[in-house]
């Protein structure tokens, strides 16, 4: 385990070092991803400016929700979400076999290799939005411990999505447009539970437990009701278990096409 972690750290350093060859592009990419995180708050800000409201949530509270989502998304995209395009790249080039014969756990190696240094811009953006939101709120009446615990669930939810998409890529290879479904999940996760009707809210709390990525962590910090969070937590653990199982199962069906 320690050896894996050390190897992981070496990979991270190597990724940053190699990206420095094109510094200008690296920093513009980071800035682009930072800006990308502002799209949600910008939308909400314009809506509030034009006189629109969101049920039960003020602008700073909604900013906190979107900041939390940006934080989880940023961390996930930086750390492991590259699994999607990395798997596709290996499949297309026929280099997936090389990965399987290495004396390291294949999934761990794939995750290591998926570290995306440019997405650190997303992570910084998430931290910045969350801090701005906290500074705009008069006081936080919730629990910091619950906030971090749900934050972790949010990361696990993203890990499940990444594993499922990676598994789909192993089978179907050309899954570029699968990412659009991730975008749609992000859109739904960017808004509070209160805007969704009963059946949709149940769906987003059980089968696709996306409330753990925005609504619940922000609610935990704000001291809002956390009804349904335990069901969502169980759903996330279940989804992660299923996605891990599917990923390893699809590996058995992998037919090498490398040359």
């Amino acid at each position: 385990m320690i050896q894996n972690l050390l190897l992981h750290w070496q990979f991270v350093k190597l990724k940053y070092a190699s990206r420095m060859a094109y510094r200008f592009d690296f920093f513009t990419c980071m800035f682009a991803f930072f800006l990308f995180q502002l799209s949600g708050p910008l939308f909400v800000g314009v809506i509030f400016y034009a006189g629109g409201l969101f049920p039960g949530w003020s602008f700073p509270q909604l900013l906190l929700l979107q900041g939390t989502l940006a934080l989880i998304r940023g961390f996930s995209f930086m750390s492991f979400f590259g699994l999607l395009w990395n798997t596709q790249d290996h499949m297309r080039r026929g280099t997936f076999d090389l990965l399987l014969i290495r004396p390291v756990n294949s999934l761990w190696f794939l995750v290591m290799n998926s570290f995306d240094e440019e997405d650190s811009g997303q992570f910084i953006g998430g931290v910045a939005i969350t801090l701005v939101a906290v500074s705009l709120l008069p006081e936080l009446q919730g629990s910091l411990l619950a906030f971090f615990a749900i934050l972790l669930l949010g990361v696990l939810f993203f890990l499940s999505l990444a594993l499922l998409c990676s598994a789909a890529t192993i089978i179907f290879i050309e899954t570029q447009r699968l990412y659009e479904f991730i975008d749609i999940i992000m859109i739904f996760a960017s808004y509070p539970k209160t805007i969704y009707s009963g059946s949709i809210a149940i769906l987003f709390n059980t089968l696709i437990p996306l409330f753990v990525a925005g609504n619940y962590p922000a609610s935990a910090l704000l001291g809002f009701s956390l009804d349904g969070v335990l069901i969502a937590a169980v759903s996330v653990i279940g989804l992660l278990t299923v996605s891990m199982f599917i990923w390893h199962k699809t590996l058995r069906y992998y037919t090498s096409a490398g040359g």
Partner: protein, 271 residues
């Protein structure tokens, strides 16, 4: 071989090439309505919570067709010329295009027409039909279908020129992926994809009025709805289409100047 024959060959080759990836386009039948459903739910909640029927000149009943038309228009005008051009410059593949007896611009433009022809049948029409079933949207429920078609034609050209301008940056920087991402993020807001431009503060609206980006999403949707309004300026559909035609000419001059300056920096070393 006359010029028209060359274009026909490019057009049909691109169309056949796109047909090979038709299933990738078919995913839009799922993602398109899902995207719209998300926007529908969000705006419904906003209008209900605000306790008002009109926000920034839009009722909820107008907002739904606005979002549908913006999405439909994007299917008709989408292209990734910027990425292609930047890649061709970086890898030196542009050389082979420059040696051909046809302008690079014209070649890519005809390819875009071929590509989008299939999108009209596989993405636009089915998604409009599905939106009709889900949201009660009727594309024929407008008196401005012809002006809308004209606005889409202008959007088609303007988007192409804007993408070309971004691709030209590839002559100046080795990698332009970051810049393209910044544009991608901003474009949703400055074109009016996510929110109508009339929602912005008056000063910002005035800036948007003089920029060509509004013609990519906001203008076609407003023309479809029957009346254009931005920064306190109101135009009939034919007036804003005419203004769009002027913007096309201005952009053409800008792209031409940029291309002529930038091409001098190109140094192809391909085999």
């Amino acid at each position: 071989m006359n010029l028209l024959q060359t274009e026909q060959i490019i057009y049909w080759t691109q169309l056949k090439n796109t047909v090979a990836y038709r299933f990738s386009m078919l995913i839009s039948l799922l993602t398109g309505p899902l995207h719209l459903f998300a926007s529908y739910v969000i705006f419904k909640a906003i209008y209900e919570a605000s306790g008002t029927t009109v926000i920034a000149g839009f009722t909820f009943e107008q907002m739904v067709p606005y979002l549908v038309i913006v999405m439909g228009t994007q299917y008709l005008i989408w292209d990734n010329t910027h990425e292609n051009l930047a890649d061709e410059i970086r890898h030196g593949n542009l050389t082979s295009f420059l040696l051909k007896p046809i302008s690079y611009w014209w070649y890519q433009f005809v390819r875009k027409i071929g590509h989008r022809t299939l999108a009209f049948f596989i993405e636009f029409l089915p998604v409009m039909f599905i939106c009709g079933l889900i949201f009660g949207f009727d594309i024929f429920k407008t008196n401005n279908l012809l002006w809308y078609a004209a606005a889409v034609a202008i959007a088609f050209v303007i988007r192409y020129f804007v993408q070309l301008c971004l691709g030209i940056l590839g002559f100046w920087f080795v990698r332009v992926w970051g810049i393209l991402w910044i544009y991608r993020m901003l474009s949703y807001f400055i074109q009016g994809n996510t929110i109508p431009l009339s929602f912005y503060p008056p000063v910002v609206q005035k800036v948007f009025f003089f920029l060509p980006f509004q013609f990519i999403a906001y203008v076609p949707a407003r023309v479809f709805l029957g009346q254009y309004e931005l920064a306190g300026i109101t135009f009939a559909p034919w007036e804003i289409v005419l203004y769009g035609a002027v913007q096309v000419l201005v952009l053409f001059a800008i792209v031409l100047a940029l291309w002529n300056i930038s091409i001098k920096r190109y140094c192809g070393a391909g085999t």
